[in-house]
Assembly symmetry: C2
């Protein structure tokens, strides 16, 4: 009987990372022929107006989900940021936050990371299901 | 000869967390009488206009640095957010980011967490030095 602990565990960043990592492993093991995803339009889960780069087709989504998983697992901050332009736009949005106190900022980024990992987990699961639909395997 | 790896390691989130954790441990071991920090004005490192709550005095700063360290080490997302009001203001700033693609969002929060941990490390070290000044111990 550890309701508080159980609730807390569901909200652990490490658990969110683990869930995402498992979803991507599952995706990799299921999608044996990623090239089948080429030229297939991106899932409705992806906001394609805002993120043209990653929305070209399902194959790009597949590559992106794997790339983020690798970055997430290593916990490394990319130095050579190929998305520098996008990050610069985000940094402008960040400016008002720089005045916030560090505790609020810490919680903001921790929650943000937690939330984006949950989102990516759903996207990985959705892509896996889509692939099974494509090859005609029932879930 | 691993220049790339060495550079990367400096940018690891886990290393940033470890550095912060060590700075707070050092602070705890040095500050044997935290009550001496009461009523002493907050350090110039703290943006006190924007963060009145955490800037009341050095003692509050001390408690906050310890609290964030505990949260950071557990990696848990707080459920009962006593800073809900502040987070709500931050979430409003977040709204434009929600349209961003998940990779950019992931990098944004990862970098943000890295940056805020660096900031908190400096604050912990500065508070430790300030305490030594107060009790008249040379660094």
């Amino acid at each position: 009987m550890q309701p508080a602990e159980a609730r807390y565990n569901k909200n652990s960043l490490l658990l969110a990372l683990r869930r995402y990592s498992l979803a991507v492993s599952d995706m990799e093991q299921t999608i044996l022929l990623p090239s089948l995803l080429r030229d297939l339009p991106s899932d409705e889960l992806w906001d394609c107006d805002a993120a043209e780069e990653t929305c070209r087709d399902l194959y790009d989504n597949y590559l992106m989900l794997k790339a983020i998983r690798n970055a997430a697992e290593s916990g490394l901050i990319p130095l050579d940021d190929h998305k520098a332009k996008k990050n610069s736009a985000l940094s402008k949005t960040l400016e008002p936050l720089l005045d916030a106190d560090p505790e609020a900022l810490f919680r903001f980024h921790l929650k943000g990371l937690f939330s984006v990992l949950g989102d990516l987990t759903k996207k990985s699961q959705s892509l896996t299901e889509k692939y099974m639909d494509i090859i005609g395997v029932a879930n």
